[in-house]
Symmetry: C2
Subunit: 257 residues, 2 copies
Amino acid sequence: MDKKSTLTRIAAESFSDKRERPIWLQIYDRLAQAMQSGVLAEGERLPGEEELAGMFGVTRITLRRALDRHQREGRLQARKGVGVFVRSISVRYVVHPHEAFNDPVAGDALETRTVSLRRRVASAAAREAFALGSRARTIELSQLKSAGQAPVYLSLKEFPVDVFPEFEDRYNETGTILGAYAAHGIDTYTRLETRIFGDFADAREAGLLQISPGAPLIRSRSLNHDLSGRPIEVNRGCWPMFSVELVFGESDLTVHR
Amino acid sequence: MDKKSTLTRIAAESFSDKRERPIWLQIYDRLAQAMQSGVLAEGERLPGEEELAGMFGVTRITLRRALDRHQREGRLQARKGVGVFVRSISVRYVVHPHEAFNDPVAGDALETRTVSLRRRVASAAAREAFALGSRARTIELSQLKSAGQAPVYLSLKEFPVDVFPEFEDRYNETGTILGAYAAHGIDTYTRLETRIFGDFADAREAGLLQISPGAPLIRSRSLNHDLSGRPIEVNRGCWPMFSVELVFGESDLTVHR
DNA sequence: TAGTGGTCTAGACCACTCG
DNA sequence: GAGTGGTCTAGACCACTAA
């Protein structure tokens, strides 16, 4: 039996008492099960909403409530005029903050794509960190990191032009930020502070991360210093909420009463 | 002019081109602005959905899309048969993981309520951590912490009965977990590992945290050892995603190339 | 009992994408 | 041009809560 007829059979089963669980949530459940069992495989396109609604015996609006929820939770992504697709989030990407916020170490398993590299008017955060005037400029680098098919991390970093006068060339040569660091004589750096908080994706972020606008994100903001205490990088990053897990290891957290 | 007529005026303004921003998102925007400016104060009840829809000149379903989004994002909470209320999330509660996962330190500014305290069959996580058999029992403690009016943290901890034979009495006497620790001869402990990840609230969690079911959460799982390396506590906790900010301080994160 | 939020239907128009 | 997802309407019934 092919996949589509399997899905048809799943959809055709009668619903249980809707007072216990609304129909749209029962549809949500069955779609989740179909994805988990492989009836709907990663990357696969779902039948059209009209057809899908017919298969489940409900209105398109009712069906859409189930789809919307799966989109917010990252399992599905809709592309206007094209269709609804199963996103790959089979695994959470595990990040050890002591390492992972630094591009090279945890980045090994990830593919990095440079989204943009340009000079810009310094952001407020960069002005404060680098002690810049209101019209000063910085080097802005945006990267997108993917695990397999699924983008998992989008970053936007700013660097001070006086510390990295040749950043663009050195970055393009070496392909890594640490390469540009080294080319400017910086071999060791310190992460001063990292803040983690939740938020929701805007349209641009949603497009790059292949999630729906409004889907929840985990955001980080951090600041790097070199050995002498000079600030050299401000970083803003975000993960789709459901595709990352932060792990804080043993060590440092002994508590005395 | 009273608040309600102010809201009426806000609602009555004409919408801009809906091709640029859908009407329901424009309603969402105006409600956000009304909350931020104090026209809708914290804890206040909104007009009924039917009335509100009339004020904005849309259908109830269109209005509900705006309300739903605010509920997911934690600014509004609906109570069936009662009304829709403005939740207090004016500030993010800042947590320093080195301290905050430990009840006493960061808990100072929070009010703690004991949700439940009982003995139970050990969870899988507790069985593994404490090396227990499949029918072993543990002490389970659930606490809810609130900042002002708003609940911000819900925890569920398990303790091994052999380490804490009198946990319940000692906890009830001292009112704190550390008190129960001390009464059993444990003054110092170590947090072995903490994992942070995103998820969505189920019905019970939503009720206790005063958010909507399905709203995004930040979850933590952690394990405490005593000085001798003996595991003494497994902890599962969650915050409403939008009401917490995790801060990792300076110190430990120097990176050598 | 009256009012509230939660769910569902039937039908419509639009913008977008692709062949 | 055909098909897709995005938005919106008008109307209905239900379960829940409080007076």
